[in-house]
């Protein structure tokens, strides 16, 4: 894993954590020995990787290998699952994300999330986007913020005349872009996306992919995808996970390889990665 050398010295970042400007190499997430248990069983263990600023990092691997679990530990969504237990290190700009002083609600405001199935609120398009800013009470210019977020998500032109209509009246692809607009309305620093295109048709998928590439100038993006072409097309770095079966038959996800996407797809160092991307596995 090439990640380790370039990550900022924890000493220099420290708990005060003013976001450090280190150009494109700045590390947003530093994971080391991350394991997540559901009840007694480890769903994924020993994950170490770095997510860099203004990059798209893809998590790929067969289903059940813990991609979603790892993603959800990056904004403490796992806290909502009573039996989930996170151990190991998850640093966000050098701050221990699971430290005692950290409020998961604030974490989720900084680190937005887009889910597998488009899940707009059963409210108007406007209220969907405005919900985050409203509860954060940053309502200086809500209308402007809603418009700007919808523009960033390349949805504005399609919905500008029907902001007060139900979000459920939109198509699946539009709903997913609305969910992206909703996520960026709270001005997060990172966007986590869990198979955001798996419920969409190819054209809608393409639009979301274009959108992701465009958004990465402002955000750091972590995307889970089961679509390897998608990972190859949009991501800068790729983490390949697989499932390890224990003697007792319990399946645990492990990180096999993490590297530049080009390297993973053309010249992976691990034969398992090669098997997977060439379709000889899973």
């Amino acid at each position: 894993m090439t990640a380790a050398e370039t990550r900022p010295d924890p000493e220099s970042v420290g708990a005060a954590a003013t976001p450090q400007r280190q150009g494109r190499e700045e590390v947003v997430f530093h994971l080391d020995g991350l394991s997540v248990h559901y009840g007694e069983f480890p769903a994924v263990k020993g994950v170490g990787l770095d997510v860099r600023r203004n990059e798209i990092t893809a998590l790929i691997g067969p289903s059940g290998c813990g991609k979603s679990t790892v993603l959800r530990s990056l904004n403490r969504m796992n806290d909502l699952i009573e039996i989930a237990k996170v151990s190991g290190l998850v640093e966000y700009h050098g701050v221990d994300l699971y430290g005692p002083a950290v409020d998961p609600v604030e974490v989720r405001r900084q680190i937005g999330m887009v889910f597998q199935k488009p899940n707009p609120f059963p409210k108007s398009i406007y209220d969907n986007v405005a919900f985050g800013p409203r509860i954060a009470k940053t309502d200086d210019d809500l209308d402007g913020l809603v418009e700007q977020s919808l523009r960033r998500a390349v949805l504005w032109d399609e919905v500008r005349d029907k902001l007060d209509q139900s979000a459920y009246a939109l198509s699946g692809g539009q709903q997913q872009r609305l969910c992206i607009a909703r996520a960026i309305a709270t001005s997060p620093d990172v966007l986590l996306m869990d198979e955001p295109c798996s419920a969409l048709d190819p054209i809608a998928t393409l639009r979301i992919e274009e959108l992701m590439v465009e958004l990465k100038s402002d955000y750091s993006i972590v995307i889970v995808t089961h679509n390897m072409q998608q990972a190859a097309r949009v991501s800068d770095r790729t983490a390949f996970f697989t499932v390890d079966e224990s003697v007792t038959g319990h399946r645990t996800g492990i990180l096999v390889e993490f590297d530049q996407t080009g390297k993973i797809f053309t010249n992976p160092s691990n034969p398992k990665t090669e098997d997977y991307i060439t379709g000889r596995f899973g």
Binding site: L80, R108, G112, M113, F115, F131, I135, R182, T186
Partner: protein, 315 residues
């Protein structure tokens, strides 16, 4: 590869696609279900016809007068006004007490309580409570609530066997049902809505208040209206907490006197009239009162359906 349309293939395929004849067992089963349906409907229709036939003379000769005059000993002038007022006031007491309490309890159980053994024990027993016969709640009302109401100084001229006590008794009776319907409504809210709300940095309170409760509201309202209808038609517990005491009361009292004084309720009027030796009460006035009760209950059910359709259409 051109399609093989030679005759032998076509014959074979046609034979495979031919429907099987419906067997004897299947026909018999269909018939049995149909008979079941007709029997249940028949009983219902017969009951309704009997009620309407009995009520007919009252409906035609008295009309609106029947619902706007108070109870009287004379069959010619007796009406159900006290019963309607009593039932409406009882239902209001039930609504004011049971709805907020029940919704609060359900929100706590579903959204806040950890999924532990005690929580599950409580959930199971709320269901059991909903199945307790209503007369048992009547005994509770008589033994505890009437005394409590008296002790709190709201006993009034009825010595505690008044609308406040009756309404509280019915509230306790329907509370488990409110909790169950609200719980189910909350559980039916898609997990994606909760996740999305947490995902933009909402606290648990904000998720519940701004997303989960509004999403569940149509179902909660529908269930609540039906629950109130149940309370409106309930008779047995009211007999124990004094609903027969108001037969001679006339209207024109203040609200507090209405609530704390003697009272009666529509189903209790039906019960009482149907036990009168006077044939006019038993055979004509009682069915007419039942008709009024049925119309009001149907209206409540219609309201529930309208609420549900409204909110469905919106989203």
């Amino acid at each position: 590869m051109t399609a093989d349309t030679t005759t032998p293939t076509r014959i074979a395929v046609a034979a495979k696609l031919q429907g099987r004849r419906v067997g004897w067992g299947e026909s018999a089963f269909q018939l049995a279900t149909l008979i079941g349906l007709l029997l249940s409907l028949g009983v219902l229709v017969a009951l309704l016809a009997d009620i309407v036939a009995g009520a007919w003379s009252v409906v035609t000769t008295r009309g609106a007068d029947f619902v706007s005059t108070p109870i009287s000993l004379s069959a010619d002038t007796a009406g159900v006004l006290n019963g309607i007022i009593g039932s409406v006031l009882l239902t209001i007491v039930v609504a004011v007490v049971a709805i907020p309490l029940g919704i609060a309890a359900a929100v706590y159980l579903e959204e806040y309580a950890a999924d532990t053994r005690p929580t599950r024990f409580i959930q199971t027993n709320v269901r059991n409570l909903a199945g307790v016969p209503s007369i048992v709640y009547g005994l509770l009302g008589l033994g505890v609530i009437v005394r409590l109401v008296t002790a709190l100084g709201a006993g009034g001229s009825a010595n505690g066997r008044n609308i406040i006590a009756g309404g509280l008794t019915l509230a306790v009776l329907v509370l488990p049902i409110v909790v169950i319907t609200t719980s189910e409504a909350l559980r039916a809210v898609p997990a994606g809505i909760r996740e999305a709300a947490y995902g933009v940095g909402a606290t648990q309170w904000e998720v519940t208040r701004h997303q989960v409760l509004p999403a569940a509201l149509p179902a909660i309202l529908t269930g609540t209206v039906l629950t109130l209808a149940r309370a409106f038609g309930e008779t047995a517990p009211l007999l124990l907490v004094g609903a027969a005491t108001g037969f001679f009361a006339t209207g024109g009292q203040g609200l507090m006197e209405q609530l704390s004084g003697t009272y009666t309720a529509l189903p209790v009027v039906v019960y009482s009239w149907s036990r009168q030796p006077d044939g006019a009460f038993r055979d004509e006035l009682a069915p007419a009162a039942i008709l009024v009760l049925l119309v009001l209950l149907l209206a409540a059910n219609a309201a529930a359906i309208i609420i549900r359709n409204r909110s469905e259409r919106k989203w």
